[in-house]
């Protein structure tokens, strides 16, 4: 084992920087944090969790190749795989690719030997049982079974029922339950089929009531194949064919609708924000209400809310952060073009590490899952979402859910399960509702979002053109045959009630809605002019009549607010008061000869009048009217955590990490003890020269000698191999300490060449 890992370390060390870079890209967990040197890297690569994560990323065929290497020696691999694929065309190429991948990921070394830890992680391979040597320790049966011919002979001896039992176990699971498994049996005394098998060592007991099919027997039963129906290629995606233009238009229509839903939600929450639950999140009641107001199913409402939150458009705010409110970013977002708005929310969704689809359901402990609640977080959500979309994007078809799932399972067979199926289902339906896909087909703008290219420009031409006119009808409705231009949209939103939404919007004029416009300060003439200007047809007589009729009665009654009033039967006293300069601060206004009102409170009024020498008495506040309108409220945007861990690390970071690793390894090999403090004066250079010298060193990959003020302010000097400068820090391998450190740039007093 020790030898094996040493050999592996040597092999790793012999890999080129580029090869190590590829390794780090495919297994980013190996370089976070960056190991000090190659033995460190090898050790980390061999840990069960690291091996497990690497294997998780293998597709079905590559995993099968790795499993085959557990059972067969490397030189027998091609033949074994050919048996499993039954010589399907493309097998050789697929084997080549699989081996290249396994090598790249350092799961096998240059001689196709499995890397440390892999064999253990793959046990039992392909559902085979344990090797006979392990099942029958110190037993001659183990030796007998090593010969396939002997196994075949033994199998030929047993009866048909026993044979059926063997076939049952052949393709796994390889063990079964049998009472009293360790009973003593011999070929002569064997009665039942199970006893026949136990007596011949075709089954072995591995527990008091558990028997297993030894690996050698399993292989013979499988005709020396490790896998059944192994296919060298991914399962094909199946689904309906759609007209591409129609699909793209449908997607754009959904995109438009979704953006509108987000906006509508924020507008509703502006004036009527729902509360934040004590445990965080949004109450189910509020979710239902949102669904009703947006006229969408609950799961769509949950998606709209989650995405709005992820995009930073809503956050907690208000008194004690107890309300969900639109953010200031929402106002910026709202002012942008529909296509840009869509791109923003679509990207937020793509990297969302939460599962909106779970909202409204219950978790394992039967607790209700609320929208915006921390419980909706699922680490794998974003990765699976991206994988689903990538699969859909790989075809022109509208792939069926089953075939997408089959492909996902093939891509990562170790990561299948009900969880994957659910998340995949959510991702597909959410992509459709958000308009990344249309009629199940990946749209151009959806593809752009997925690949990180600007999507808005692709979406814009597909969106319905805004219209600046409506069709007015005698039933007091207005039909906007498309999205309205901003001004008209806002005006109609005020002047009429929305009755139906979709490609078009149907508005209905009513007394109350006309009154709203009048309240907003427009006159009947202005309303009618506005209608005439934006109507393609004459304004219907009943509508004109409605407007003038409401206007006729509008404002006949006047309502105002005052904090206090002053009554006096003698108008002369009030004349006197109004003329008094000292009363100016009370800002009094005369409503009638004997009544004054003031903004000042009753108490202030009383005090002021008394100080002026009057003797007023207080009256009860009966009839005092206060009218307030709830203002649209905002909260600060709060940073929303975006998880990028699943995405491949940036190339730059990887390069730097590899460089640091190499430097560490170099140090390990050449100077196993920490380098001694270089003698002489601590280098001193101007700051700009320092940075450029460091950058040069990074480029060259050379070592430098720096002066550094440590956290106590002591001047020290170090020998470094700089790797990367970022955000005011230098990341470098510190040969003096034999470790990777981050250095604060401004504390580096100077740089000098080591030599």
């Amino acid at each position: 084992m020790e030898r094996m890992s040493e050999g592996f370390t040597e092999w790793l060390r012999s890999r080129s920087d580029e090869q190590l870079r590829v390794l780090a890209m495919s297994r980013p967990e190996l370089i976070t944090p960056v190991p000090a040197n190659v033995p460190g890297l090898a050790a980390r690569a061999g840990t069960p969790s690291a091996v497990g994560r690497a294997l998780d990323r293998l597709d079905g065929f590559t995993l099968a190749v790795a499993e085959t290497l557990v059972v067969f020696p490397p030189d027998e691999l091609p033949a074994a795989i050919h048996r499993a694929t039954q010589d399907a065309p493309g097998t050789d190429e697929a084997i080549g690719r699989a081996l290249a991948t396994l090598t790249e990921m350092a799961l096998i070394d240059g001689e196709r030997r499995l890397a440390p830890g892999v064999q253990e992680a793959l046990d039992p391979p392909a559902g085979l049982g344990q090797p006979a040597a392990r099942v029958f320790r110190h037993d001659e049966r183990a030796i007998t079974l090593a010969d396939p011919r002997a196994v075949r002979e033994l199998i030929a001896q047993v009866g048909p029922q026993a044979r059926a039992a063997l076939d049952e176990l052949a393709w796994g699971p390889s063990s079964g339950r049998v009472p009293n498994a360790r009973r003593e049996v011999s070929v002569e005394t064997a009665q039942s089929p199970i006893e026949q098998l136990l007596a011949r060592g075709l089954l072995g007991a591995i527990g008091d009531d558990t028997v297993t099919l030894p690996r050698e027997v399993g292989l013979v039963l499988r005709d020396d194949r490790l896998h059944r129906d192994l296919s060298p290629a991914a399962p094909p995606l199946e689904g309906a064919t759609r007209r591409a233009d129609l699909a793209a238009r449908t997607a754009a229509g959904q995109a438009f609708t979704f953006v509108r839903s987000v906006e509508e939600l924020c507008e509703i929450w502006s004036v009527d924000p729902p509360g934040v639950l004590r445990t965080g999140g949004l109450a189910i009641r509020d979710l239902r209400r949102a669904a009703q107001q947006l006229d969408v199913p609950e799961w769509t409402a949950a998606l709209v809310i989650e995405v709005a939150h992820a995009a930073g458009l809503v956050a907690t705010g208000g008194p004690a952060d107890a309300e969900w409110l639109p953010t200031l970013s929402y106002d910026l977002w709202r002012a942008r073009q529909t296509e840009d708005r869509w791109e923003a929310v679509a990207r937020a969704w793509l990297t969302l590490d939460r599962v909106p689809g779970l909202a409204g359901g219950r978790d394992d402990r039967d607790r209700l899952l609320n929208v915006l609640h921390p419980d909706l977080r699922r680490g794998a959500a974003a990765e699976i979402r991206r994988r689903v979309l990538t699969v859909v994007a790989a075809t022109e078809l509208a792939p069926s859910q089953e075939s997408v799932l089959a492909r996902l399972t093939w891509e990562r067979p170790r990561r299948r399960g009900a969880h994957l199926a659910r998340l995949a289902e959510f991702a597909l339906r959410e992509a459709e509702v958000m308009g990344l896909t249309g009629l199940g087909v990946m749209s151009p703008h959806g593809r752009a979002v997925l690949t990180g290219v600007k999507a808005a420009d692709l979406l814009a031409p597909l969106l319905p053109e805004p219209v600046d006119h409506v069709v007015l009808q005698a039933d007091l409705t207005a039909v906007a045959p498309g999205p309205l231009t901003g001004e008209l949209d806002r005006w109609l939103g005020l002047a009429a009630d929305v009755e139906s939404k979709g490609g078009a919007t149907v508005y209905r004029f009513a007394e109350a809605s006309i009154r709203r416009v009048l309240d907003a300060g427009q006159s009947a003439e202005e309303i009618l002019a506005m209608l005439a200007r934006h109507s393609t047809t004459p304004v219907p007589q009943p509508l004109t009549y409605l407007v003038t009729d409401v206007a006729r009665r509008h404002g006949r009654l006047r309502v105002g607010s005052a904090s206090s009033y002053l009554r006096c039967d003698d108008p002369a006293v009030l004349d006197e008061l109004l003329a008094d300069r000292r009363a100016g601060v009370l800002r009094m206004r005369r409503l009638a000869p004997t009544v004054l009102v003031s903004k000042a409170s009753r108490a202030t009024m009383l005090d002021s009048l008394r100080s002026m020498g009057y003797a007023p008495v207080a009256e009860s506040l009966e009839g005092d009217v206060l009218i307030t309108r709830a203002d649209a409220r905002r909260t600060e945007a709060q940073p929303v955590r975006q998880v990028n861990g699943l995405l491949a690390p940036e190339a730059e970071v990887v390069t730097a990490a590899i460089r640091a690793l190499r430097a560490g390894d170099h140090a390990l090999l050449s100077r196993p003890v920490p380098a001694s403090q270089p003698g002489g004066a601590v280098p001193r250079t101007p700051a700009t020269a320092t940075i450029s010298a460091l950058q040069e060193a990074i480029k060259q990959g050379s070592r430098v000698w720096i002066g550094y003020l440590d956290s106590q302010g002591q001047a020290t000097s170090r020998i470094l191999e700089p790797a990367r400068i970022e955000g005011g820090y230098l990341t470098a391998y510190d040969e003096t300490r034999a470790a990777i450190h981050r250095f604060v740039l401004h504390r580096i007093t100077g740089v000098a060449d080591v030599n």
């Binding site: 754009a252 609708t257 069709v471 045959p481 139906s500 939404k501 490609g503 078009a504």
Partner: protein, 546 residues
């Protein structure tokens, strides 16, 4: 960008731009699966409901056609969810079928076992079914044929009834097309019904539904039971049948409160059928009195609940429903679907009006202002008295007089709810008043006089609303009435919609008190009429009086 005439909304309404060049084509494509909800002047609104989709399935359309029509005519992308929903809903019809079985009589079969299992697990279904016949079918008690259909519809799995009909007792009936002929749409409607077996024909008032009934009888050639709303209707059907068919007076029986004749063709009122004595329906035996080959339901939208129950037992007989609207105030559209049958024919009012079969009507709302003392009295009136007060203001009297004067020489109907007001109007206008207490004979005499133009003005109360025929009424003036009901509006308008000899347009006035609850009710009417596509105008009483 596609420039179709149709916009599909997310709430499953379809907006059709009527002035679009492809509008007609589109209307024909969507009519089978969407109900016309509103038809104002520029943009018509259709609604896609499960019932409408099942009607379409029953008429032989499949989901693919529906989706093609939606996508083909839509200006904007059709929401995917809607398409999925359409396909799913339509796939639900016909999964279950009621069929005839040589041994078990009636069986419920399905090629989708899961669906059959699902409905059989429903508690209410269990007592209706008998023994399980293999995996895919189950025997159904023949008496439950109607009930099970009702129930399955409620469960969301409407059954297709393929169990056929009894022929009934044969009786020769032929149309006598002398001096008149079946209009094309009437023939289409009767044919569509006959091919469908049973079902509902939707035609506007005045489009000659009686004749469609007669044509259906001519198809059936069998004894027929006709159920109508009231006695006047009975006489009218009888007169019409004698005139239009080979039937003679002796072959047609009247079954009403006063006469109980059972003849090869029998016309009965809903009222007599649903009258009870000692808690039992006394006239149920009429359904079994003869081996009826056809049952005609007039004004299906008014069909009372007990008749539904009786109809559930008549599923083996052919049924045709006639109505102006499928909309029922009580929301029992589903029962019409399962018990009478799916919609077999539908023609939009406007189109028939354009073809000249019904007269176009102009609707005018006249607003009268209450006097100051009346306003004070109105403000102080009890809530339940307010409407009556507003509706019967004396100001309306003068406006009505002015309108009658304005239309002198034309046939004028004055319609109202309050007898006092009507009596007063009758006095002022010097016109006879027909109200609930008016004898049927007297009523018919007055109607005939009105028809013969011996009478120019007739004041009628609510009783005149249903199934009377006043062919030459050119002007209707509504002074009061409970306007909340949509179908009442359709009826009232139907009175003046009759095509007139001179081709002149009909006029419908309603007189409304300004700023009162009367005006609120009027707003409903205005909306309904405008939605039906009628020109609507609001004027002030002063304009009339001036």
């Amino acid at each position: 960008m596609n420039d179709g005439p149709l916009i599909v909304q997310s709430d499953k309404t379809l907006l059709l731009e009527v002035d679009h060049e492809r509008a007609d084509e589109c209307r024909r494509a969507i009519a089978p699966f969407a109900e016309l909800e509103r038809a104002p002047e520029h943009v018509h609104t259709y609604r896609v409901t499960p019932l409408a989709l099942w009607n379409a399935r029953a008429a032989g359309h499949d989901a693919e056609q529906v989706i093609d029509a939606l996508i083909g005519f839509s200006r904007y992308p059709v929401p995917h969810a809607l398409l999925v929903d359409v396909a799913e809903t339509m796939a639900r019809y016909g999964r279950l079928r009621l069929e005839k079985h040589p041994v078990h009589g009636l069986v419920l079969t399905s090629n989708d076992r899961a669906v059959l299992e699902e409905v059989l697990r429903a508690k209410k279904v269990q007592p209706m079914v008998g023994e399980r016949l293999g995996g895919d079918s189950v025997a159904v008690h023949p008496s439950e044929r109607g009930n099970i259909k009702q129930l399955l519809l409620k469960l969301g799995w409407p059954a297709e009834d393929l169990a056929g009909y009894v022929d009934g007792e044969a009786h020769p009936i032929a149309l006598t097309e002398e001096g008149w002929s079946l209009r094309p749409y009437q023939k289409e409607a009767a044919d569509a019904f006959w091919h469908g077996g049973s079902g509902v024909v939707v035609l506007p008032c005045g489009a000659g539904k009686t004749i469609v009934g007669a044509a259906a009888m001519a198809h059936a050639q069998a004894t027929t039971l006709i159920l109508v709303t009231n006695t006047v209707s009975v006489h009218q059907w009888k007169t019409e049948l004698i005139k239009r068919t080979s039937l003679t007076e002796d072959e047609i029986g009247e079954y009403t409160g006063t006469k109980k004749e059972i003849r090869p063709v029998t016309i009965a009122t809903y009222q007599v059928m649903t009258s009870k004595r000692g808690g039992v329906y006394r006239h149920l035996e009429l359904f079994d009195a003869r081996d009826w080959g056809l049952v005609v339901y007039d004004e299906v939208h008014l069909l009372p609940a007990p008749i539904f129950r009786m109809t559930a037992d008549l599923q083996a007989r052919r049924r045709v429903g006639l109505t102006a609207t499928l909309v029922r105030e009580d929301g029992r559209e589903g029962d019409v679907f399962s018990l009478i049958g799916p919609k077999r024919y539908d023609a939009p009012w406007k189109e028939m009006e354009n073809q000249g079969y019904i007269a176009p009507a102009d609707c005018v709302e006249v607003r009268v202002t209450l006097r100051d003392d009346e306003r004070l009295a109105y403000a102080m009136a009890d809530t339940d008295e307010r409407y009556r007060f507003a509706a019967t203001t004396p100001s309306k009297l003068r406006v009505t007089e002015a309108l009658v004067k304005k239309h002198a020489g034309e046939q004028i109907l004055v319609i109202g709810q309050y007898i006092d007001q009507l009596d007063e109007l009758g006095e002022h206008l010097n016109a006879p008043v027909i109200k609930g207490e008016t004898k049927v004979k007297e009523r018919e005499r007055l109607f005939q006089a009105f028809r013969d133009k011996e009478l120019q003005v007739l004041v009628v109360s609510k009783v005149a609303n249903f199934s009377i025929d006043l062919p030459e009424a050119a002007v209707a003036i509504q002074v009061s009435g409970t306007f909340g009901s949509r179908q009442e509006e359709a009826q009232r308008l139907g009175r003046v919609l009759r095509p007139k000899a001179d081709g002149g347009g009909a006029r419908f006035y309603s007189i409304v008190s300004r700023d009162t609850v009367d005006q609120d009710f009027a707003a409903h009417r205005q909306r309904f009429l405008a939605e039906q596509g009628y020109a609507y105008q609001i004027i002030d009483a002063d304009d009339v009086l001036a």
